[in-house]
């Protein structure tokens, strides 16, 4: 059983390395885009709120596989293709995950009672001060646990890229089948690989939860 892993170490290494890169790049980008969208959703400008709401409601009700299919097969028809398959995959994951990040950010901000910022404004703080000194430090606490869940889901979702000829961990079975290796043992190893990646994330999440919990 071990030989399946050691004989094809190159496949596993390259596959999981691509998975990790997809995950990290998409995580950063969707954090940025999601936060911007979250800011839209709590803004006093109705049109911005509508943009945020529309985006979230559309993307949350669309299968990620469809987002992938649209970017990989459809976008080329509009000459909008992204520079490489890797970036197209990152684009699909980012577009999809941002909707969930947006919701986490929005509900995190909404957990703070308006009295907090009203008091801050009453002592003469500016908008930026209210945001950075009062609201965000408290919202962070409510945001961290669900945000880590979103990122764990993102890590698992990278496997969908395998269906679109990105040779990440989810594509290992197909490559192994060409080499005539045992598929089930391959899948067991892939599962172990994902557990190795996910378990630290779970511990990080618990640690952050403890760190940020109200004493």
């Amino acid at each position: 059983m071990l030989s399946v892993l050691t004989d094809n170490w190159d496949l596993f290494r390259d596959g999981f390395w691509l998975t990790i890169r997809l995950f990290l790049v998409s995580a950063v980008l969707s954090l940025v885009l999601g936060t911007i969208l979250g800011a839209f959703r709590v803004s006093p400008v109705p049109a911005l709120r509508a943009v945020g709401t529309g985006y979230v409601n559309t993307l949350r009700n669309t299968p990620l596989t469809l987002v992938f299919a649209f970017l990989f097969f459809g976008a080329a028809k509009m000459q909008l293709a992204l520079p490489s398959p890797f970036w197209t995959g990152v684009g699909a994951l980012t577009i999809y995950t941002s909707a969930f990040v947006c919701e986490v950010v929005r509900s995190g901000i909404n957990t703070i009672s308006p009295g907090q910022s009203e008091a801050a404004r009453a002592v003469g703080m500016t908008f930026i001060q209210v945001l950075t000194l009062i609201v965000l430090p408290q919202a962070f606490r409510a945001i961290v646990p669900p945000l880590s869940s979103v990122f764990i889901a993102l890590l698992k979702n990278t496997t969908i890229a395998a269906g679109f000829s990105l040779a990440e961990a989810g594509a290992i079975p197909a490559a192994m089948s060409e080499r005539g290796e045992n598929q089930l043992i391959t899948l067991v190893w892939i599962t172990i690989g994902f557990l190795i990646l996910i378990v630290p994330l779970i511990f990080l999440q618990r640690w952050a939860e403890r760190r940020t919990a109200v004493a």
Partner: protein, 293 residues
């Protein structure tokens, strides 16, 4: 309306908001116009790309794909509810030898990417010649993953019933089975319904993974239709139609979830029933916490 971040705008603020509003609307209109222009320049509005939807054969094809999606989602939903009920019961069992393995099973299936779960059935079928169609790989994969998330939802729902209910029930001499069945479950179910329905949205969306293991569901059909030379590779028109169907179906379910949530919240005010659980619980911060994705 005062929000956390913004004061009630004064006269200046109102003007500023109104101006920003107009600017955003103009930008948005610009973006939409650019997109339409992009589609137009690349000939995506040409009649021959869209004409196919007028043909009965194509409509039947889409319908068949949709039915396959719904068939897989429906069966998987029923099986996942059963799986969830069994494992939730096991997880609240008083016997350690039942509780501990059940916990591991639930945590494991929530941590494995769903596609990999489907691959297990797909390749096991090839290797052992079980004669299963890809349909079953999709259904079993969905069942194991969503069943595990549902098990957590059920468990959290039962745990969320106020402690006094359980204590009072035990005090009247009911057995554990009766306490759960007669006292806790009836109260928990209405609190869990929104989360259960939200999970069904996830399940429905995830049937689209069947596309990757060649199950002829809606997205698979769309890919085939998009690849037809006769109609000039109508990828964009077909994907737009597909997206509308998916978004429509999932939105309906989401609306139902929100309605149920509102209802149980209203009822809570009256009777003091437990608060609704709106998403898969993060108890123990399991990896399935991303359940809503």
């Amino acid at each position: 309306m005062s929000s956390v971040l913004y004061e009630v705008p004064g006269p200046k603020g109102r003007v500023r908001n109104r101006v920003s509003n107009i600017v955003v609307v103009i930008l948005l209109a610009g973006a939409v116009a650019w997109l339409i222009h992009r589609l137009y320049v690349n000939g995506q509005f040409e009649g021959r790309l869209w004409r196919q939807f007028e043909y009965a054969a194509i409509q039947r094809e889409i319908l068949k794909g949709l039915l396959n999606t719904l068939r897989a989602a429906g069966l998987a939903a029923v099986l996942a509810l059963l799986f969830g009920a069994v494992f939730a019961a096991a997880r609240i069992s008083d016997h350690k030898w039942v509780r501990v393995p059940a916990t591991y099973v639930v945590e494991l299936f929530r941590a494995i990417p769903l596609l990999i779960l489907m691959f297990f059935f797909y390749y096991a079928n090839i290797q052992f010649q079980w004669g299963l169609t890809p349909f079953w790989a999709v259904v079993f994969g969905l069942t194991l993953y969503n069943g595990s998330v549902l098990a957590e939802i059920f468990r959290a729902g039962i745990a969320a019933v106020p402690k006094g209910q359980r204590e009072a029930a035990y005090a009247t001499g009911l057995r554990k089975n009766q306490v759960v069945r007669l006292v806790l479950l009836p109260q928990a179910i209405s609190a869990m319904l929104p989360a259960i329905v939200s999970q069904m949205v996830v399940l429905l969306k995830d049937t689209a993974l069947g596309f990757i293991i060649t199950y002829a569901e809606l997205l698979y059909v769309a890919k085939q239709m998009g690849g037809r030379l006769t109609y000039g590779f109508p990828y964009i028109p077909t994907y737009i139609v597909t997206a509308v169907i998916y978004i429509g179906l999932c939105s309906l379910l989401s609306v139902l979830a929100r309605y149920l949530e509102g209802r149980s919240r209203r009822r809570r005010k009256v009777t003091g029933a437990p608060a609704p659980i709106t998403k898969a619980p993060d108890l123990g911060a399991g990896p399935g916490g991303g359940a809503s994705l």
